[in-house]
């Protein structure tokens, strides 16, 4: 009998470890804090200040989930993870969610047992050039000397882009990002290429940041978003609708300043979203007003973007692909109805 019980317990634990019967939502509520995996320090996305307070785009997603689940954006235990450690940490249950500038690829879902909950940042490879060149498009870069970091996927993407567009390319490969900036500033190349978010960070390292711009073209796909373990549909849904809730709030004009007014709005879409006329929040395992509570805590998607990486930050990255679909970008959430 004892052996049988032990067997059952063992099987249950194995299942829990696989996530098949995982109840992450209940675990987080019982624990009273969200374990959120973040980068160890990436300007604009996640970094602690001198007092140990974390901020950034990815960090605000952790806080939004905490506001939705625990009604408090401060009930987050931030777990800084290296690139190598991030997926094992999620697989082993050390974190409930990974919000760490990670690219959504098939390998990570098919092989690593993860589920990406959405794309909260469309990144991709771009080009930085001197403002004085007055270039509007990457197609005007025929014959350019291009600085690229050796051993990165950027090398292949650059070669493909120049070849398919019948442009002459002179690659200047350098070992690291510091060397890349130096080579560019010394005039060894006409343009510098890596992911767009990183181009803006590198621009801050330059002697005169405002004399360089990033051309609007994005030539590769680096869709970033939060990830959870497979096998817990309820938790997957929660993290997914946190993202969609923040996007819908942005689209409908529900901001931190207007969230209280939104509760008594006349717009049926707004009334549903903030829970005045809907109980979808409760059906997800949260409260009916969880979107309103997230927006009150950290703002809507656009406010999170602008504060951390956009007009409110030193990075000053234009919304670009990450603008709402009806305003010039491709961010699009299913309706909250």
């Amino acid at each position: 009998m004892k052996t049988f019980l032990a067997l059952v317990a063992g099987a249950a634990m194995a299942l829990a470890a696989n996530g098949a019967s995982a109840q992450t939502l209940k675990t987080v509520k019982d624990r009273g804090t969200l374990n959120c995996g973040v980068s160890r320090g990436l300007v604009g996305f996640s970094a602690p200040d001198a007092k140990g307070v974390w901020s950034g785009f990815d960090v605000d997603y952790c806080r939004a989930i905490a506001a939705a689940v625990l009604n408090d954006p401060n009930k987050v235990t931030f777990v800084p993870l290296s690139a190598d450690d991030r997926f094992p940490a999620l697989q082993k249950g050390q974190v409930d969610v990974l919000s760490r500038n990670s690219t959504w690829t098939v390998e990570r879902e098919a092989k690593l047992g993860l589920l990406f909950t959405g794309i909260n940042y469309y990144d991709g490879q771009g080009f930085l050039i001197p403002t004085s060149r007055n270039i509007l498009s990457a197609l005007e870069m025929d014959g350019s000397k291009v600085c690229v970091q050796s051993g990165t996927t950027a090398v292949g993407y650059t070669e493909d882009f120049f070849r398919t567009n019948n442009m002459k390319l002179e690659l200047v490969t350098v070992p690291g990002t510091d060397e890349m900036v130096k080579a560019y500033e010394d005039g060894r190349c006409d343009t510098l290429t890596t992911d767009v978010s990183q181009l803006y960070a590198l621009r801050l390292m330059m002697k005169k940041p405002t004399e360089h711009i990033v051309v609007p073209d994005v030539i590769s796909k680096e869709p970033l978003g939060p990830a959870v373990r497979q096998g817990d549909d309820q938790w997957f849904n929660v993290v997914k609708w946190v993202h969609f809730g923040l996007l819908n709030a942005d689209e409908l004009g529900v901001t931190r300043a207007k969230v209280d007014a939104a509760l008594t709005s006349k717009n049926p879409d707004v009334r549903r979203l903030v829970g005045t006329d809907s109980d979808y929040g409760e059906q997800l395992g949260l409260t009916r007003d969880f979107v309103a509570r997230m927006v009150k805590a950290v703002g809507n998607y656009g406010e999170i973007y602008e504060r951390n990486v956009g007009t409110g930050s030193k990075l000053a990255i234009p919304r670009g692909l990450n603008e709402i679909w009806s305003r010039g970008g491709i961010q699009y959430a299913p309706p909250y109805r």
């Binding site: 160890r40 602690p48 140990g52 307070v53 974390w54 409908l252 931190r256 703002g299 010039g328 491709i330």
Partner: protein, 212 residues
Amino acid sequence: MAFKFRTLVLTALLQVGALTVGSMAMAQQYTPVPPRGMGATMDIGDQPGREAPADDELTIDPAYRRQPVYFRTTEAPGTIIISTKDRFLYLVQGNNRALRYGIGVGRDGFTWQGLVSVVRKAEWPDWTPPAEMIQRQPYLPRFMAGGPGNPMGARALYLGGTVYRIHGTNQPETIGYAVSSGCFRLVNSEIIDLYSRVPVGTKVIVRQAVEI
């Protein structure tokens, strides 16, 4: 070298911090700062007689300087789209891109949305403040000839059938904000650039923030 050393120190701090930061973060309150672009206002009256520097685009926040951006739209190249909510003016270039200019939006700029067109262009426009503006700011002149001290700035694009105009400014620090008077203002060096790209007849679409 200095940069590398700092990186090393930072990494070391973060590794030590990894063990302790989590619990510390619980104790610290987090207060999001409102981003400037969304809803920020500047309480400033007109300053006739003041002159902006010639390189006034260099005095504004880099985020609000003219730059090419990704912009997906079905509007034809050459169309101007003004988004008052985030204080940007887009000149559509086609192929999913636009030239984006930072603007300041005056109270008249928030009153209407829809489609208008440029019916007149003027260099160094004269200025006749309307009666309600005189009431709010009694110190204003009744008429002011165009020039560097004129709040209308270096150029103006007049939008048909409305009080709307896109103009320059002698107050470059107001770019990125909602301000007390006027419509859509750009720094002089950028309105001069826009003026040279935009003919009479250009379509202008004004988009306001969504009503709650």
